[in-house]
Amino acid sequence: MSAGADDLTLIIGGVLGLLLLATLIGEALRMRGVASRQTLDIYITRVNSWWVMAVTLSVALLLGKVVTLMLFAFCSFAALREFMTLTHKTRADHWALVASFYVVLPVQYVLVWWGQEGLFTSFIPVYAFLLLPILSMMRGAGASFLARISETQWALMICVFCASHVPALLVIDLGEYSARSVLLIAFLVLVVQLGDLMVYFAGRRIGRHRVAPSISPKSWEGVACGAVFAALIGASVAWITPFGTAGAALMALISFLIGTGGALVLDAIKKDRGVTNWGHIIPGQGGIVDQLDSVFFAAPVFFYVTRFFWA
């Protein structure tokens, strides 16, 4: 870890600097009394939530693999709790749900910790996929059986399988770079989340044409700005990756686009279930799934592309 520690400290310093700027802007606006009280309160609540998230992730990354895995295992747990709240289920699914939370989730993270790629990449798409429906069937199946088992599997894929591919970046063998692989997590989270923020800000200023008018205010203009921004961020922090400048820009762009598509998919699910947020765990932002949807979607793609071209 030591080789990456200096670079990581630098990146974390940069992020905390940006947050400090965001906080100072909020305080300045408050003192000058320009923005409306309500808008300002929402802004400050969000910035404060960003502080908590950035500091938590930074501390975990600095403390190493085990703590990072524990942090993402907790995110998976909270995300799965939010997701399963909105899936269809009956009493027949109780054991399958219990197994998802108390067996599948911890086993997946232990397999990632162990670094057995053949196991943690197949455990949920193969073993859980085949075994959990058997549990539900044994408890009496019932109405909408296919829909119910599919929803349970989908929840596990997004909240556990995809999420666990963020810390799984620590166990890819990238030769000399492996000692610094914690920086890949910082890179992925940074480009996806900053891209998201740009979609939001640019969309509010110049957004005209909506991507999916019925489900989300995201606009094509905002997404285009986000894509350019993510690629620029990626290129400018290329020195923390093994990708090279063009490679880093491309990886950032791919991650951003998959992540944005994923966030819209999860928005469509929320719309269908008649809720505006997945949960309330992060003040001003909603649930864990609301915050990390794009990172969850981008993580496996980022993982497998990295694995294919650079391992």
């Binding site: 709790r81 109780h94 219990v98």
Partner: protein, 221 residues
């Protein structure tokens, strides 16, 4: 000694409930203030009462006592410890023929000592499809005896999926507890009209109530 153990167990229970449910209180039409109140709630699971107890701010939780069935809470030593020492429940006997003490008098006595109460006016767990069972007379009787006490409708959402009847391992799912505007017994109001109004005030708190429920107008108070 028992008191320390009960306090620690209570804290542990709150943490456990938050871990499983990410429990959240939504105060809609009322604030969490220190007044003598009766939180009356829907009842679908044995976890309802601990959940309401968990989401109350600590200062209110300390002075809020659930009204609970003696036959259930005194069955084993562990339950008796939980019921009497952790929750400080007002234990009442549901079987009229075995009663040595009038349950309404016991509730009034607890209110007079400055406590608030958690009450499940359906009288038992609701296992059916209807959101609420018809209320028993208890809520009316205590409202008549102590008309100045706030009756706060308290809707517990989604707890029944966490531990369906007969299961022993809870599945983690998000829950919320929604507190509505307090109601009071009106001058000369009949028991039927009052219980219907109280049930309506509770039903309207239910999320998505407007889509699958025709709410009668002019009766919420």
């Amino acid at each position: 000694m028992i008191r320390i153990l009960a306090t620690i167990s209570g804290q542990f229970l709150v943490l456990f409930a938050r871990f499983i449910t990410a429990a959240r209180a939504e105060w809609r039409g009322t604030e969490p203030v220190r007044r003598r109140r009766i939180y009356y709630a829907n009842h679908t699971s044995n976890a309802d009462m601990p959940l309401i107890w968990t989401v109350l701010p600590p200062v209110l939780r300390r002075e809020t006592r659930p009204v609970a069935a003696a036959d259930y809470w005194l069955k084993t030593k562990l339950r008796a410890f939980a019921g009497r020492d952790i929750f400080k429940a007002v234990l009442i006997d549901r079987r009229a023929e075995h009663r040595t003490e009038d349950p309404i008098a016991a509730m009034a006595a607890a209110l007079d000592e400055g406590s608030s109460l958690i009450l499940f006016p359906e009288g038992g767990r609701n296992m059916g499809e209807e959101p609420l069972l018809p209320f028993k007379a208890g809520l009316y009787n205590i409202a008549q005896l102590r008309p100045e006490v706030d009756l706060v409708p308290t809707w517990v959402e989604n707890i029944s999926n966490i531990m369906p009847k007969g299961e022993i391992i809870p599945v983690p799912l998000s829950c919320s507890v929604i507190f509505g505007a307090p109601i009071h017994l009106r001058e000369g109001e009949s028991i039927e009209a009052f219980l219907e109004r109280a049930a309506d005030a509770l039903r309207t708190l239910r999320p998505n109530a407007s889509t699958d429920y025709s709410v009668s107008t002019g009766q919420t108070g």
